[in-house]
């Protein structure tokens, strides 16, 4: 019952006119960002952080804005999947399978509407799950000591590559690089200058916002220049919406299944939204069996993965808010936001910053409702915006990145530093080193070091203290299996995911 009281307080904050307006702006901008091919949610939130920061918004408002962007981007991803067959981000990949064929059959409007409704239901289920699960997990996490936290951070890195991740060694490289960057600057406890090379700028460490924007946004531009897309995509017309109430009712079981599966996948460390939508789609295909026309534009093939990936997006907030350990790229970026607003995520946040947490959760619910309302009548606008050629779009996104960084630092040096991070990000992506663990390393590094220090001081320098309690041993076991399992079963699973996608696209080709 306490939870409901908190949630009501959250609604009171989120429903003030100013916050509501920012939620609306965020939802709109987020949908746009998600809809544009190549600009995923992590990118979008990253570019907007410096702006939200330099506008000096109140903490709640800034978080509501960015949460709405996050929710919006998850919605938007489906638009380019359905209309262009280009997923805006990885989780939207499964939506292409039935969404694009349906659009080609002249039912683009229906496909978009179904996906909007499924996204809404998935998010709603996920957020309800978050409300139910987060306080319990936060209470449980209060019993964690420094050793458990240290193990938990290791777990976050080990599982970040995910079950579908490619080379765990490269995930580890990325994590260590991020942690190394986090050690630059003055050591908090002793004041020792570490890796500053007597450059004054480096004394206070490397600003992670600058690094995030560089690594994501600038490297995206460079990758695009390398690949130089053909651009001549077949334009699909969005006709008049003809969706009967009965059809929506028929999709309810599919949507509910997808949302629940997605939420579970989102909460689990290392699974994330991609796996959420994949599992939702595969399970649905198995449940329906040969009665469905999966791959040829079955409405259930849109509803399941969409509700799955939105459920997972909310689920991924559970570990991020309660433990301070994000499970996906986008939540890692949201974590950056929290840290830059001076809020330390983790179990204490639920007691110390209860108002902030619950207004964010309320904003998530309101944002989703806004998105559903926005999306059905305004779909035409988003479709129009999709036709802006990328060769204008990406340079303009780069400009926004420059404006954002400049408005927090007012320094050309920082802009150059951001570009340098962008070049590094491009090279790392070419070497297949994932960027998210780098970000996570930069964010979690200071906390990780602090907890290691505390654990060692408490035990008088006995390293065995790091794995002495049953809980910490358990976490270490999960962490190690998270790193080892992908090499054993990940290859097969990844191959199956790719084979599925390939097979469906192949059958699509033969139809046309």
């Amino acid at each position: 019952m306490e939870t409901i009281q908190y949630l009501m307080d959250g609604f009171a904050v989120a429903l003030t006119p100013q916050n509501l307006m920012f939620a609306l702006i965020g939802a709109f901008v987020g949908t746009l960002i998600g809809a544009l091919p190549g600009l995923g949610p992590a990118n979008g939130v990253a570019i907007l952080i410096p702006l939200a920061f330099s506008l000096a918004l109140p903490v709640e408002t800034a978080l509501i804005l960015l949460t709405a962007v996050y929710a919006g981007a998850m919605y938007g991803g489906r638009i380019s999947s359905i209309l262009l067959n280009i997923p805006g981000d990885e989780p939207a990949m499964m939506t292409c399978l039935d969404g694009y064929p349906m659009a080609r059959q002249g039912k683009a409007a229906e496909a978009l509407a179904i996906s909007a409704i499924a996204s809404f239901v998935g998010s709603l289920l996920g957020t309800l799950g978050l409300i139910a699960l987060a306080p319990i997990l936060a209470k449980f996490a209060l019993s964690f000591g420094p050793a458990e936290y240290f193990a938990l951070f290791a777990l976050a890195f080990a599982t970040l590559g995910g079950i579908t991740g490619k080379n765990p060694a490269k995930t580890l490289v990325a994590a260590v690089l991020g942690l190394m960057i986090s050690t630059v600057g003055m050591d908090i406890s002793t004041g020792t200058q570490r890796y500053t090379f007597n450059i004054l700028k480096l004394y206070e460490g490397i600003d992670f916002i600058l690094a995030i924007v560089g690594l994501f946004a600038i490297s995206e531009l460079l990758l695009f220049i390398e690949h130089r897309m053909k651009g001549n995509q077949e334009r699909i017309k969005v006709g008049k919406l003809q969706l009967s109430f009965k059809e929506i009712i028929r999709l309810i079981p599919t949507t509910l299944r997808g949302g629940v599966l997605g939420f579970i996948a989102g909460v689990l460390p290392g699974a994330g939204a991609s796996l959420g939508s994949f599992i939702a789609y595969t399970v649905e295909k198995r449940v329906i069996g040969s009665k469905g026309k999966f791959g040829d534009g079955d409405a259930r093939g849109i509803a399941a993965p969409e509700s799955g990936n939105n459920g997972a997006a909310s689920g991924a907030l559970v570990p991020m808010l309660t433990l301070g350990v994000p499970g996906s790229g986008t939540t890692a970026v949201l974590l950056a936001m929290l840290i830059s607003l001076n809020i330390t995520p983790g179990p204490l946040m639920f007691t110390q910053n209860a108002a902030v947490v619950w207004s964010v959760i309320a904003a998530l619910l309101i944002g989703n409702l806004l998105l559903l309302i926005l999306n059905i009548p305004m779909i035409g606008i988003f479709v129009k915006l999709l036709s802006i050629p990328t060769h204008y779009l990406l340079p303009l996104v780069t400009m926004i990145a420059f404006v954002g960084i400049y408005s927090i630092s007012h320094s050309s040096f920082d802009l150059g530093f951001m570009v340098a991070f962008g070049v590094a990000g491009y090279l790392l992506r070419k070497l297949e080193i994932p960027l998210v663990p780098i970000i996570l390393g930069m964010l979690l590094g200071p906390e990780m070091e602090k907890n290691l220090g505390h654990a060692l001081v408490l035990s008088d320098g006995n390293w065995l203290a790091l794995w002495s309690s049953p809980l910490s041993i358990g976490i270490w076991i999960v962490a190690i299996s998270g790193l080892v399992l992908p090499t054993l079963i990940g290859k097969g699973l990844r191959r199956k995911m790719q084979a599925d996608v390939k097979q469906e696209t192949a059958s699509l080709m033969t139809i046309n």
Binding site: N167, L179, R194, I225, Y392, V403, S412, K430
Partner: protein
């Protein structure tokens, strides 16, 4: 398929790990702190981890990705230079002028018609400038 990329990466990471770990050992012992955990402890752990992983990468490299060569490599280098120049000139030339130059150059190199690129870049730069300076109260440099 060649596997040079990862071997080279592994070698560079190994050098980085050794340099990073070595310099951590050079820091003066902080006065009066607990000897079990100093400023060098965490970096030392990181250095050891990276050393091990970089050796692993050198012995078990992945196949190389296709790297851009010739013209597209040149385009990337030009874009990077343009971005650095943009960063350097922003305060000197002011936001509108430097943004117009940088954005239209990038758009043009990415396939837009030159005149269109300049017009779009100029109008967006002016729009953003007005929006930030007057509506959002975040001053961008006027230049000169």
């Amino acid at each position: 398929m060649s596997r040079v990329g990862d071997r080279l990466l592994g070698l560079l990471l190994l050098l980085l790990a050794l340099a990073y770990g070595w310099s951590a050992q050079q820091w003066p012992e902080p006065f009066g702190s607990a000897e079990s955990f100093g400023p060098e402890t965490f970096p030392t752990i990181l250095s050891i981890t990276l050393t091990l992983v970089s050796l692993f990468l050198m012995f078990k490299p992945d196949p190389d990705e296709a790297w851009p060569v010739g013209k597209s490599a040149l385009e990337i280098v030009m874009a990077v230079l343009a971005l650095f120049v943009y960063a350097g000139l922003l305060e000197l030339l002011g936001f509108i002028l430097s943004t117009t130059i940088a954005v239209s150059f990038l758009s043009w190199r990415m396939g837009a018609k030159p005149l269109h690129a300049v017009l779009i870049a100029l109008s967006c730069a002016t729009g953003v400038f007005l929006l930030f300076n007057y509506l959002l109260d975040l001053p961008l440099p006027l230049g000169f």
